[in-house]
Amino acid sequence: MTFEPRIVGFLCNWCSYAGADLAGVSRISYPPNIRIIRLMCSGRLDPVIILETLAGGADGVIVMGCHPGDCHYVEGNLQAERKIRMLKKLIARTGLEPERLRLEWVSASEGGRFAELVKDFTSQLKKLGQSPLAEEKPDTKILAGVLAAKATAADFRLRVLVGKEKGLIEDANVYGEKVPEEELDKTMEEAIDAEYLRNRIYLMTKDEPLSVKELSKRLDLDPKAVLRHIVVMRRRGLVAIDRVEGTTPFYTALKVE
């Protein structure tokens, strides 16, 4: 039997869901691989939910919203775009293919476009193959990565950066300075890197106390960099020393409220 990708589609009520309706009304056929979940706005979709869906074994997730300028809620779709842009960067670090997540604009009159997109995404996923998390025994390394990504997407720092992105670029910060887009992109990349690694460390040390050396081996990361993260995490009350063997401290994750 050929591989049939399982796609979860999150569609906004006003444009894309109506576009999918129109595809049906017009009897345009497309592969039956998509399962549609209706939201009021694509901007409502929390990045955590997308990662949960991917961790749950979806071969692909497609988010559809109104075309820019057509959003029923002014610009919820642009907020969705910011979130997905961040998410793709985050997913790329986990070992899962970021192409498994797509964002597309579909209007209420674009039944044909909706069908084409489902067709295209299905064949793209067929080429990509089954998600390593969809198998009976999911790839543990990638799953650990996606779970760390999920924790990262739930954390304050990235959410605040994404949430304030528009304001920082278009208006100004409290000091009246506008932040250039490139600069914000750089900050975002750095934040994604740091927070993702910290969540990896947190989840690893939750399972068992680990030394910097062991962490650096498992993360394939310079021990100095690992130590820097540990310092930050200790300050935030996320990890503490479990025990010292010889001169090597072992760190363990603390429970966070």
């Binding site: 309706d21 049906g24 549609i36 979940i37 901007g43 409502r44 074994g57």
Partner: protein, 569 residues
């Protein structure tokens, strides 16, 4: 209704054949059997047409017989039939938000009619997703609000006055706030109106007289807005006169009719450098005052400061007709005067304006097309004349025209203080600076915020007839909530968990409706009647302190996992 909250969900699933629309593709009996196996589903049946009166009574029967507290109908799109099924639930004492729909027609049988087996499997999945949500949904209440039957019209130009008159004639109280010392707006500075050539002052005086004699209208001139609070039905505006005197107005609706400025082309084509380079607005004044001179030649230049590569990229819509009208007026008064119009594209849209264009050509007005990349230049010549050099796009060569007067056609632009007003009202401005409507095609005079409307040139450049049409439109839009008097608002709104909120303000900035504020405790507070339930705040909240009624994270996640076959009892 509260009882459902405490009870274990008892879900009834009604699968519709829709004649052969679903039943001809999807194996409905098989799907019904599958539905019965899902957690919390206590009853499932199939109907030929669930939306028929027979089908609806089957739902009511099922609710009574099996003590259902959640209903799932697997049929067509919720976009058309959800209200009907919700009403049926409500009639039987089940809160309408305890209903969930599974779209197995538009999204399944119609799209996969050539793959019946796969369609049947997909229909099962769609029902599983709906059941996953139905298990978690809660009853919701739609808040009701009273509407104050009075309107605030900001701006006393032709648009604002027309809207005010229409509302006053429908019996509503109207306050007009005008920042200038007198009513009239831009029309006060114009000579004649195209294409009828009626005196602008005649048209204006009629309206002003009607406004001033209408008992339902209160006019405040030399007055500006200082603050606006509240929401549809219950706005509170603070207004202030130039002398500092302030007043509070309680109104149900607000109309933005603040008009536009006319761009002053300083530094362009010798404007302000040579006395005989003027704008169309200045020419209107000369025509009004009867101060035309025996000019040998008048040269008009179009698109001065509009349709630019960057900045004012828009077409100002009125300048072509304004130039034609003033050219014809000059020709009528001074038949020997040559009038040239240098244009990029002459946009005399529609039947009447195109006829006017032809008439102008017949009167001997001369047209030269220039290119944006080779704009005309104006230099001063001897004896007070001006020399205009222009690349004639049709001849393909440079031509030189000497004239006594150069008239620049400049665009309408947004007022400087529009930004402040947009912040007071929490309504957006577009990239061109003009007020931005809720939907360009379907809601062209509403703002996304309920109860606030826009008309006239505050919205975009337009002529008097178009402004008046929009003004009559907004009057009718604003009258609806005031006539209804009581409104039900959205139940799907945002909820803040105060214990989790850190007061970072991300949601306050993101909310397109200004529905979230920080309260005295420094935590986010949602004004429910202003919230439209888009959920952007919740999906962005750094502390995950905001959840959306009827679309909670838990519900959406459960649906996503159910789509992957994961639905556990």
């Amino acid at each position: 209704m509260e009882r459902a909250e405490e009870e274990t969900p008892r879900i009834g699933v009604f699968v519709c054949h829709c004649g052969i629309n679903i039943g001809g593709v999807v194996n409905v009996p098989k799907v019904v059997e599958y539905a019965k196996t899902l957690p919390n589903v206590v009853y499932a049946e199939d109907n030929l047409y669930t939306c028929s009166s027979e089908g609806l009574s089957k739902i009511k029967e099922g609710i009574g017989k099996y003590n259902l507290n959640r209903v799932v109908v697997a049929s067509c799109t919720p976009r058309t039939h959800e209200p009907l099924f919700r009403a049926t639930c409500e009639e039987t004492g089940v809160n309408k938000y305890l209903f969930e729909m599974a779209n197995i027609r538009e999204h399944c049988s119609w799209a996969h009619m050539h793959e019946p087996e796969k369609a049947t499997e997909k229909a099962k999945d769609i029902i599983r997703i709906a059941v996953a949500k139905a298990r978690l949904i809660q009853p919701q209440k739609e808040p009701e609000i009273d509407v104050t039957p009075s309107a605030l019209v900001i701006g006393g130009g032709v648009a604002g006055m027309t809207a005010a008159l229409s509302l006053a004639e429908q019996g509503f109280r109207v306050h007009i706030i005008e920042k200038e010392p007198e009513l009239g707006g831009t029309l006060r500075h114009l000579h004649k109106l195209y294409p009828t050539m009626q005196d602008a002052s005649d048209a204006l005086n009629q309206i002003i007289k009607a406004v001033e004699s209408n008992k339902n209208i209160e006019v405040s001139t030399s007055t500006t807005i200082k603050e606006v609070k509240g929401f549809i039905g219950n706005f509170e505006a603070t207004v202030q006169k130039v002398n500092g005197e302030a007043a509070n107005l309680r109104v149900g609706t607000i109309i933005v009719a603040t008009g536009a400025d006319i761009f002053e082309p300083i530094g362009m084509y010798g404007y302000k450098e040579y006395g005989n380079v003027i704008t169309q607005l200045q020419l209107e004044q000369l025509l009004k005052d009867g101060q035309l001179k025996k000019w040998e030649r008048v040269i008009m230049i179009q698109c001065v400061g509009s349709r630019e590569e960057k900045g004012r990229t828009y077409c100002s819509r009125i300048c072509c007709m304004t130039a034609l009208k003033n050219a014809v007026l000059i020709k009528e008064l001074l038949p020997d005067t040559d009038v040239y119009i240098l244009f990029r594209d002459l946009q005399t849209y529609g039947g009447r304006y195109e006829d006017y264009h032809r008439m102008a050509q017949d009167r001997g007005i001369k047209f030269i097309k220039y290119l944006q990349e080779k704009p005309p230049t104006v230099v001063s010549a001897e004896n007070g004349k001006l020399t205009v050099n222009v690349y004639h796009a049709l001849l393909g060569e440079q031509v030189t025209i000497s004239g006594d007067l150069v008239v620049l056609s400049t665009p309408l632009t947004q007022h400087e203080n529009a930004k402040e007003l947009s912040q007071f009202l929490k309504v957006p401005l577009g990239s061109d600076g003009f007020f931005f409507e809720a939907h360009v095609k379907l809601r062209p005079i509403d703002f996304a915020t309920d109860g606030i409307f826009v008309c006239g040139t505050a919205h975009s450049p337009k002529d008097t007839a178009e402004s008046v049409s929009q003004a009559l439109g907004v009057a009718s839009r604003a009258a609806i909530p005031m006539a209804v008097k009581r409104l039900r608002t959205e139940a799907i709104t945002a909820m803040v968990n105060e214990n989790l909120c850190s007061g970072c303000g991300t949601c306050v900035k993101l909310c397109p409706y200004g529905a979230i504020e920080k309260d005295a405790k420094g935590v986010a507070r949602v004004t429910e009647v202003m919230c439209k339930g888009c959920g952007v705040c919740g999906a962005s909240c750094p502390e995950k302190a905001i959840s959306m009624r009827h679309f909670t994270d838990e519900q959406v996640t459960a649906q996503a996992l159910a789509a992957l076959g994961r639905l556990t009892a």
